[in-house]
Point group: C2
Chain length 425, copies 2
């Protein structure tokens, strides 16, 4: 059982037909509540433009299904009768986010209101295991998480899995995840059959997209409507938030920053192309520049223990190691150059950097920011700055969980399975 993202019509075209309209109205009400903690029915009617009778009817439905709850009384002004307020509830509705990356599997499970129920990181050599074993392991970790969430009273309404690579979101297929050696892997289907009797729908998405979503909902630049997220690992990924929405593009392949060609005379990349941005700012490039005795991550060479390499670098930089300082300055400049391409094209307010970029931010950022200022055409009018993520390695799984929540709010009928009562919408 894979699950389809709800249809969001571009340009906000109105829904057609009564069922779609009711779905849209339920969603409108839940979205108001998510954005405002608690509101009276009258406030919701005013904010959404729906009739009060419609709001009351929708609310009865949502209350009955425990997606909202009464939270006492709202007094407006000195006169007038007190109005009962409602808030998002859904403590029984779970949202499970997962991430599989080169050397770990991460889990982040919440209820509908965002309360964290499960959080876990499992060290796992996904790169060395091949897809079959990795998917089986992912299935085991998912099963445990679902069971833990059910024990905590929340049954997951969906699972979103973050993967470092190109994902065909509609089909749940990993088209290409070079650092995992995955190719055309129907991950959603495979994981669904492994979870069989648990019957939780599964969806797959790009890790940087999901981390961008986490940054937008709960990170250091939360709520910044034009935001680019970059993750520095062995590979370099990007997720783009524009007007508060994740950019997907025509096929779901937007934000592919790692293989932008930035140097036509540069080195060969693992992907076979020349001068990709990843060859300048990926972790392997930094490790080799800082510790030239290592063949770390050259095309065909392994990238063992990336976490330890980052810790080595941080120690060396803190002690003022000359070679490392030079290397990090160089990588910082290339980070700024790539950032300037993003800033010239997207005009974001903030570029949030995650992964190892965040761990070494104090050394990378001054160089990156300088270069950004130099190369952005509209600077200083376009005030764009780099900021280090504070979400750590859990960003993608956290974003994955928040995507399940968003999907439920976009179409609450997915978890409201009995037929809706006739209603005057």
């Amino acid at each position: 059982m894979t699950y389809k993202p709800p249809n969001r019509a571009p340009g906000g075209a109105p829904p057609a037909g009564p069922a779609a309209l009711r779905r849209a109205n339920l969603s409108l009400v839940l979205r108001e509540l998510r954005d405002h903690r608690s509101l009276s029915r009258a406030h919701i009617a005013e904010a959404t433009g729906l009739h009060r009778a419609t709001v009351s009817n929708l609310m009865a439905d949502l209350l009955e299904r425990r997606l909202v709850r009464e939270v006492g009384v709202e007094h407006v002004g000195a006169v007038g009768r007190p109005r009962r307020a409602v808030a998002l509830h859904g403590a029984h509705v779970g949202a499970l986010g997962m991430e599989i990356n080169v050397d770990y599997i991460a889990v982040h499970g919440t209820d509908l209101s965002g309360r964290v129920l499960v959080e876990r990181r499992v060290v796992y050599d996904a790169m060395g295991s091949g897809p079959d074993r990795a998917v089986r392991r992912l299935g085991l970790v998912a099963k445990e998480a679902v069971e833990a969430m059910r024990r905590a009273g929340a049954s997951p309404a969906g699972i979103v899995v973050a993967v470092p690579g190109l994902v065909d979101v509609a089909r749940g297929v990993v088209t290409l995840a070079p650092n995992l050696y995955w190719h055309d892997l129907p991950l959603a289907d495979q994981l669904s059959s492994l979870l069989g009797p648990l019957r939780v729908p599964v969806r797959v998405d790009n890790d940087a997209n999901l981390a961008a979503l986490a940054e937008y909902t709960s990170g250091v630049a939360a709520g910044t409507p034009y935001l680019v997220y970059l993750t520095g690992e062995v590979g370099v990924g990007g997720g783009i938030i524009l007007g508060g929405e994740l950019l997907r593009g025509a096929d779901g392949f937007s934000g592919e920053v790692g293989h932008l060609q930035v140097d036509p005379n540069g080195a060969q990349c693992g992907c076979g192309r020349i001068g990709c941005w990843e060859t300048k700012v990926g972790l392997a490039a930094l490790v080799r520049a800082a510790m030239p005795e290592q063949a770390y991550g050259l095309p065909g060479m392994p990238v063992p223990d990336p976490g330890e390499r980052v810790a080595d670098l941080a120690r060396g930089l803190a002690s003022g190691d000359r070679r490392m300082t030079t290397a990090v300055a160089q990588v910082g400049e290339w980070l700024g150059l790539g950032g300037s391409i993003l800033a010239n094209l997207f005009n974001p307010r903030v570029i949030v950097i995650g992964g190892y970029f965040a761990s070494l931010a104090q050394w990378l950022l001054p160089h990156a920011q300088d270069q950004l200022q130099r190369l952005v055409v509209a600077a200083p009018a376009a005030r764009c700055r780099f900021v280090a993520s504070t979400l750590g390695f859990g960003a993608a799984s956290r974003g994955a969980a928040s995507m399940v929540v968003s999907d439920i709010i976009d179409d609450p009928t997915t978890i409201m399975d009995s037929p809706p009562r006739p209603a005057p919408y």
Copy 2:
């Protein structure tokens, strides 16, 4: 009198307050009519989710103001009474688009339904004239166009002026137009005072943004929701359509493609930076590569008669001139490289090329498309192709006129100045 773009809330948040709600509902109705030629009130109610009484009330208002008109009868099925259909009208409401560029001023005036009333291109050396004289000339051309449109029965509700440079859209200020030598020019205010008694509000926008809009509404790839437009002139500009909407970014400075750094060891650009894309694919770069005896457009050097240079090139290429063929192949590859950056980041379905790129498309495109396929990470899954624009030099002014129309449809109350009657929305 400058005019503000209507507020479009990101994420489609519902409007607040009864006036805003009525505005939004009027807009909803007009948008349906624009997209469907003619519809009955019942159809509009169904498509928008508005009550029939509300639609009838809104429609009475729109009919009274001649923004819509009755267009006969719509029969639905064999049974049921015939329903009267309405269509967008507004023959008395004009939309004036203008463009000022290095060597011409263009005018495109329509009525609300898109019927062309004025179209004109004036050869003018804006580059050599300096901002004061250029703005005065623009004012004269605008005045003539407004008068011609009024004679044709349509009074312009707004003017949008396309400028090749960075525009602060909210303030109507041209922040920087390097090829016109303009800098912090309050064009909207200046043009408004020149038009004084005509009292037509003026707005300014980037030429490539407006041309992208024209491509989306009426070009060779019309209706393609993920579309990038590139214009090749002395400078190179870009406009980005995502999900059917023009991308503006946090400050309105998105799509600045001309000064993306594509070659860290490249030549110096007119902007002072190194290896900008413009130094590889701008018209001056092609002219110098094809005719090395020319110092055409080197930093500080003039770029006389760009149109004639393009005609020379087309003639030479048609006759198989070896040097020109080599030069255009080179420029085509760089065009493909820049296109791959755009495709990797935005994942558009189409990159429409305008300006001289379109004039020489048959020679440029094969090289550009090859390079694009090589460098796009998600190819062939991300099916992106270059297409030559067919709109010619009028693209930006045409897009400017369609932006005036969009603005009216987004907020019809701007041209409905008497107070709205009380209504049950």
